[in-house]
């Protein structure tokens, strides 16, 4: 049978508009410190870091199916190496990025061990890695054990300048990582990692080099989480190992990705915004805030298992930043969309 004439649609009119709007928002955010007051600049910096965490978790779990409960390992190590490099006399802002690259490089040998583990073993194994990383960092006398230390090199900057520089670093990191993940997901590698998520053996049997693809995503998400950690220490100034190697970071990632929509590109960003707003409104409520977060996650898991954006995708054909492919028969209306 001869193949009918088809056209592959990747960008729709709506998604072109969405991309244009996203770029305009990005351009505005890029000059944020010139427009907004100090409080907003600080809050946006936090939001950017949350977006990085959510997008990295989503790439690892939502797209590649590698559930990990130890991503705080990379977050903590990123912060640690930033402090370490600054103490060695390297310029503090470049150190934030170099720290993330060091962690990314370390995740290569780690991946050869960890990716042998499957499913729950991998998830728990990563938590063990986080605990080990925490212990190893405490061996560095610079850190003073659980007392921690500070990124004192930041004191060289006036407070306003420091706020703006940290903001710009976080913005650049977020924009860069979003672009990398988007391009990756739209290409053949994106198809490969989703296939691995859905059925690893079937992926192998159609020619996907599974380990290579998994390693790429593992290293990317390690680098991204490390960058989030190094940026966090630049906003918080103090580095206490227990805070940075806390499973709460992975819990936040899970919350953001689940609520926004695991395995949808837009969902992770949305989830970070939702989390950011919840924290802004209820963050002062102490332990009840955490109870509320847990309850919200539960409600979402039950009512909207594919998250907010997954629900939108199921109900409508709307794709704002599409990574998939839609087939159009030339000369005919639309191919059955299905349910």
């Amino acid at each position: 049978m001869k193949a009918p004439a088809i056209r592959i649609e990747r960008w729709t009119p709506e998604s072109r508009v969405a991309l244009a709007l996203a770029l305009i928002v990005a351009a505005l955010l890029a000059v944020g410190p010139l427009l907004f007051d100090a409080n907003i600049v600080d809050r946006l910096t936090t939001l950017f870091i949350y977006v990085i965490l959510a997008v990295m978790w989503n790439a690892l779990v939502g797209y590649c199916g590698l559930v990990s409960i130890g991503q705080q390992a990379f977050f903590g190590l990123g912060a640690y190496f930033a402090v370490r490099l600054a103490d060695l006399g390297f310029s503090v802002y470049p150190s934030l990025f170099v720290a993330a690259l060091i962690v990314g490089a370390l995740s290569l040998p780690l991946s050869t061990i960890m990716l042998r583990l499957k499913g729950g073993e991998f998830a728990i194994g990563m938590w063990v890695v986080a605990e080990l990383a925490h212990l190893l960092v405490n061996l560095d006398t610079l850190i003073n054990g659980e007392t921690g230390t500070s990124l004192i090199a930041l004191n060289a900057y006036a407070i306003g300048k420091r706020r703006a520089l940290t903001y710009w670093c976080a913005f650049a990191a977020m924009a860069g990582l979003l672009a990398v993940v988007f391009v990756l997901l739209r290409g053949p590698t994106g198809a490969a990692i989703q296939a691995i998520r859905d059925n690893e053996q079937a992926a192998e049997s159609i020619g996907v080099r599974v380990t290579r693809a998994k390693r790429l995503v593992f290293m990317l998400s390690a680098t991204g989480a490390a960058l989030a950690g190094s940026l966090w220490v630049a906003t918080a100034v103090t580095f206490q190992p227990r805070t940075y190697f806390s499973p709460q970071w992975t819990a936040y990632m899970i919350f953001m990705a689940l609520v926004g929509g695991l395995g949808t590109f837009e969902g992770a960003i949305l989830g970070a915004v939702v989390f950011f707003l919840i924290e802004a409104w209820f963050g002062g409520a102490g332990v009840w805030y955490l109870v509320g977060l847990g309850a919200a996650a539960l409600v979402f898991a039950l009512a909207l298992p594919r998250g907010i954006w997954g629900w939108v995708e199921d109900k409508t054909a709307l794709r704002l930043l599409p990574v998939g492919y839609r087939v159009k028969l030339i000369g005919e209306p639309d191919v059955d969309k299905g349910a």
Binding site: A195, D198, I206, G207, R209, V335, K337
Partner: protein, 246 residues
Amino acid sequence: MANETEALLLDARGLHKRFNALVVLSGVDFSVHANETVGVVGPNGAGKTTLLSVLVGAHAPTAGEVRFRGADVTALPTAERCRQGLARTHQIPRPFSGMTVFENVLTAAFHGGGQGGDAAYAQAAQALATTGMTSLANRRAETLGLIDRKRLELARALATGPSLLLLDEIGGGLTDAEASELVDVILDLKRGGLAIVWIEHIVHVLLRVAERLVCMDAGRIIADGAPASVMSDPAVIEAYLGGGPG
């Protein structure tokens, strides 16, 4: 031309496979020539699927070797064998459920087929057209019923651009009309130059395609040859009537 059709595509020698204490293959020699269509029958649990898994590298044999296009591929990962032209379908379909039908097939064209861009789209579209799935292209694979999942297995294998296609019970559950369509598709593929190995319990469907028939029982090949002589072989009749270990 004669030389080409005679060429030995796949050659497996002395395959043994054990799962712990369970011996599933005990000394299987199996070969396929270019453009040949081979039917495989045998009672449940005979080891047919396991043989196929060993041929593509999803399971390592306990002993024996597999050669594909003249090279020893026994230690080669499944993905690499697929890229060289050895594709299989799964008896229990394994769709990429979170992706659309087209994306399932496109992934095969990208990776197993080594295609990029428009060439990959064309190869995927052709595989969907061949299997009659074009109208389902935008459906999420998790919404497909069993028959369509089996068709998707075939479409995905085709999109890798194989020279040898290993089919595992893709005809089960079909109506007579659907089975006839499937036979036509397979005959078309054969005309297109593919070599095909087809495991199937529905023997009368299989006989419309197979030029050679292999019967397995209890981990061994008990008959291999022209379909008519295999079907009348006393050992084959005994295996079916007497029942295998399954």
